[in-house]
Symmetry: C2
Subunit: 649 residues, 2 copies
């Protein structure tokens, strides 16, 4: 192991015992005073508004007393918060944030820039562009073609991706309408590589054109007609203008067939927010089609192919396919390279294509693992050798490399970027797509950009409006200190992987008798899932009750302050169909059919996210892993006792 | 003037010359050290992970050097940010934030709670509920009936309001479907007060049931059928499940008529994000219907009535009507009381109703002006007497009181709440409506709530997922120090109103000759709009160029650091149809028809938001208002010279 990044790692966080408190306080104070003197240096001739004498008034002193008192109250309350910082917290994807991001956030927050526009944030809008480009490079996008920005989180990022995908999907229909009304001939490339006049295509073909080809078509259409005419004609024929109801009627009238509703394919493990998103967009949750996952919780490419064939047979357009890079439950990384192969095959054999989005909200930063500081790709073997672990597989590396071919990617800096909330991000492979959702606010054109230069202020292209420039500063400073390669985030994430694997092996080795532990496969990144079983338990319900009880014992609440903290999830039908079979087989208390019949009850699975990089190395003192194993065994015993006490099994 | 709140006001902000720097640093340091010792007190037996010796390693020192160096770079960059804190900034809605909110944000940020669920934020989720209740009380909602939460900003808040409104609108159709499939009889109240069996209603009637009556119907429907059956039946017949395309076909098949697309009425001055929102929701911007505003930029109730009659004649359902409380351009406050009267009349005379949303993102906090510390309403006369100003009018007070009858309200604490970004909020008058957009994440049921108690963790009901608990702490602490009544926010906002009116009168009095100033009407809150004119200018284009030039001179850019900073907007057709006529008349260079023909060019209007409470009182030293007037006159001269130099007028 290279010593230098490990030494650096020790400076990246405040520390489980706030060991870096001096450093942290020095930087916070520096940022604060720097801001104070910025104010004092701005037109000092303006004089003093709040005079020293004013501060002696009863009203002032009372107000300060109130503020101080209430702050003390808040600080006291906050002590009941969850100790995410500790090695004892092995639950959700939460840990300490990097000092860089916390100090960067605080420093910029004092200025309170609003990244909706450079006019309200001349500095941090630039930083936001910079971090988006850094992330784009990390995933292999071309800096000059890609575009991205920060969002409040993963839900908004995923929402934007699907919103943009819908606008791209239906654009050729609008271009046909515009071309007809303006008397234009335009050619487009089809998924099989052939080129045709768009006027010759039926509706199904128009809705099966690759992202880049749609955007090329769109760009050419502006070149062959006066700008204003084209803008008007495209707007007249666009879904965004017409709305779904009218648009559906129009398609039916113009093409004699509105086709079945376009669908969104998601890996069955996809985040629950996708359901919210398709409902909100008006797509409808019926059109959200789950693609089964394999035993490793990765989207099954064969199953995807089968789904596509079936959809093709019914002439159903696919709006988008959502592949996951780091599921929130298991940190599973879809074989994106194979998903891309399936899409290519669908293009060749079925004339079918779709927007491919990678939901890398959790796993995106892990792409830094395969990058050397020089930007050169590391091979799986190089990484394995450096780590001394049988991780990552070459397939994992290929999945990460394949991100470069996704049409869009969402990545949350506030997850594996160790940045404070709120910080999500959306990246587009082809920046032109952002124009399809642009709206012009009347008051935000930045100074000096009114004369026809590109108005690329964020407010035009994003769903949100006002947004904290401080988040951009936080991400920016953190990326400066922890580069997006093996020396920075790559190193940090590798340590968590090593820690997770240490935990995994320890769970497998520990003697839980008379309990038995059932482990999910080794995680693709750093979330370890497992459940306890006991010979006395003979039903799915009882096993669920046992594990729910373990979770209750090992989670923070008003009543409890457990030694170690975990969380749990529920594997429900239809998302976990097939994937859950090996677990059920090991449990031996229920068949897949019985589990399916249990519906929402599902299968309770315990879950430990290892974001703590210090779990990787056995410490000189007490080891959290052995402490955790004992606590888990104890919790099992307590839960079982309660279970048997409350209802005979 | 009561001296005590004025003295308190002096302690609320860091100050234009950072006069309260000592106080601020003391509280920040307190919060930081408090957190540090929280960590040290959590299982001190765990020992030290980052040892003192480690901090002497070359790798550690290098990493600290990098962090410090990059922070210095960031701090240097930030100095190019906009001096929102200064009395010289008279542009966008940006100012200093309250010390309470900044310290509260920082204190909680150290813990990085995630308000998606109490499990990830046991303390700050409670604070979020509390601030939502405080805001609900401020607008006159009933604490036990209302509900609300924070969002990343106004766009998401408005989006949620319309998303929920859509689910309420179509719910009766789903209930009819469910009642038919389960063989139930259910009665519902119609807008004219009569009651009917839902099975007897035609589609148009089903889409014209008041919010509360829909929710009553929904609640009763759960009481007459087994829970699971009803859940399934409702889902089968809901738009959220079916999606727009399929749903439209179904309505056409089942009712022989899908009706025209439902529309959203907005005050013509509504924020540009409403266009984004209706596009994203799949409603389509064609269905966004602007209701003309009067000469005070308030929605014209007569015009609303005319629109409703026309829509009724075409049997078009109205999904929602968006009234604005504090337009972002002019701070105009719609006469919500009169809008409510129009809705009541439409119910009686046309059998027509709709969700009424108040977009109070900007003006919502001004509702604190009419509240005494005891919660008792202040009359217009009381407020005017206390202020010594001819503000607010009794009509203004009635408009604010009427907020209590809006179905939903969006309010941004990060605007007139003086809270750091990100902090928007959405309030629902009837909390039951939130259930219509609920989705259950598999892993977020909080501990102790799995046994059938209400699962009211935020993640279920909101659009976003992970979100900063720090924002809730910021709002909470600020509300503690500045209560939502005349002694706190009410006082603060009144001072800005007085400042804005001082500015307004000074602009009217100042001798700009040979220039002439044209003022919009006195603002409803604190945004002053005006434009310069010069006898040499004879076209709309030239006047626009003059004012655009003034804006360029008086705005921050890489090249310029002006003495005073303003911003500008553009009044475009169709939003400002009619409202712009008085301005055009005063200008005398273009008719309304010519302005309409100018389209996006519109009319450039200069704009100064007065969020600075210190502008209200003439200072002992140099007065920013007189400095500003001179700077504006100079900018006019510079702009004119450039204009004449570049193209003869």
């Amino acid at each position: 192991m290279n010593n230098s990044p490990h030494d650096a790692l020790l400076s990246w966080f405040l520390g489980p015992q706030a060991e870096n408190a001096d450093l942290f306080e020095r930087l916070i104070t520096e940022a604060l005073r720097d801001h104070v003197f910025w104010r004092r240096n701005y037109h000092p001739e303006d004089g003093i508004t709040i005079r020293e004498l004013d501060k002696r008034s009863a009203g002032y002193e009372e107000a300060v007393a109130t503020l101080t008192q209430e702050l003390m109250g808040l600080l006291a309350e906050l002590k009941r918060d969850v100790p995410f910082f500790s090695g004892r917290y092995l639950g959700h994807m939460a840990y300490q944030q990097t000092i860089a991001s916390q100090v960067g956030y605080f420093a910029a927050m004092l200025y309170n820039p609003n990244n909706v526009s450079p006019e309200a944030a001349p500095v941090t809008t630039r930083l936001e562009q910079e971090v988006a480009q850094q992330m784009a490079e990390m995933v292999g996008y071309r800096r000059d073609e890609a575009w991205g920005h920060l969002t409040s989180g993963g839900t908004v990022a995923n929402f934007e991706a699907l919103w943009i995908a819908r606008n791209v999907l239906y654009l050729p229909v609008a271009v046909v309408g515009a071309a007809q009304s303006l008397g234009l001939d335009l050619e487009v490339r089809l998924p099989d590589g052939s080129k045709t006049d768009i006027g010759q295509l039926d509706l199904s073909q128009l809705l099966n054109i690759a992202n880049r080809d749609v955007l090329d078509l769109w760009e050419r259409s502006w070149q062959v007609a006066p700008r204003e005419d084209m803008a008007r004609a495209l707007a007249q024929h666009s879904l965004a203008t017409a709305g779904y109801q009218d648009y559906g009627r129009r398609l039916a009238a113009e093409y004699g067939d509105a086709l079945p509703d376009s669908v969104v394919l998601v890996a069955a493990t996809a985040h629950y927010s996708w359901k919210k998103i398709v409902r909100a967009l008006g797509i409808g949750s019926n059109q959200l089609i789950y693609v089964p996952v394999d035993g490793n919780y990765r989207m099954d490419p064969e199953a995807l192919w089968d789904r596509l064939k079936a959809l093709h047979a019914r002439r159903t357009p696919v709006l988008a396919c959502i592949s996951v890079c780091g599921t929130t439950e298991e940190s599973a990384v879809d074989r994106l390279d194979r998903v891309l192969e399936v899409r290519a095959r669908a293009g060749q054999e079925l004339g079918m294509t779709f927007h491919l989005h990678s939901d890398a909200c959790y796993g995106g930063y892990a792409a830094s693992v395969i990058r050397g500081p020089d930007g050169v790709r590391r091979t799986g073997q190089e990484i394995r050798d450096a780590l001394g672990e049988d991780w990552p597989s070459d397939e994992w590396v290929r999945s990460m490399v394949a991100l470069a071919d996704a049409d869009s990617i969402s990545i949350d800096p506030h997850k594996l970027g160790y940045i404070p909330y709120p910080a999500g991000a959306i990246l587009l492979k082809d920046r032109r797509a952002r124009e399809l959702v642009a709206v012009d606010p009347p008051y935000l054109a930045p100074a000096g950009q009114a004369e026809g230069t590109e108005q690329d202020y964020l407010g035009r292209f994003i769903f949100e409006g006002s947004k904290p420039g401080a988040a951009a500063a936080a991400v920016w400073l953190s990326h400066k200190v922890l580069p997006l390669d093996e020396s920075g985030y790559g190193y940090l994430i590798c340590r968590t992987v090593v820690g997770a694997r240490r935990l995994y092996r320890a769970l497998a080795r520990y003697d839980f008798a008379p309990f038995r532990i059932i482990l999910l496969p080794e995680p693709d990144i750093n979330i370890v899932c497992y459940l306890l079983h006991h010979p006395l338990l003979e039903s799915l319900e009882a096993v669920n009750a046992l594990n729910e009880g373990v979770y209750q014992v090992m989670s923070v609440s008003a009543k409890a302050d457990p030694e170690y903290i975990i969380t749990r999830t529920r594997f429900q039908t239809p998302m976990y169909d097939r994937a859950v079979d090996p677990l059920l087989e090991q449990l031996g208390v229920a068949t897949p059919a019985e589990w399916t019949a249990a519906g929402k009850e599902g299968l309770v699975v315990l879950r430990s996210t290892v974001m703590d990089p210090f779990l990787a190395d056995p410490p000189p003192g007490p080891d959290h892993i052995s402490g955790f194993l004992d606590a888990l065994a104890d919790a099992g015993a307590v839960s079982l006792a309660r279970l048997i006490g409350s209802s005979p099994v």
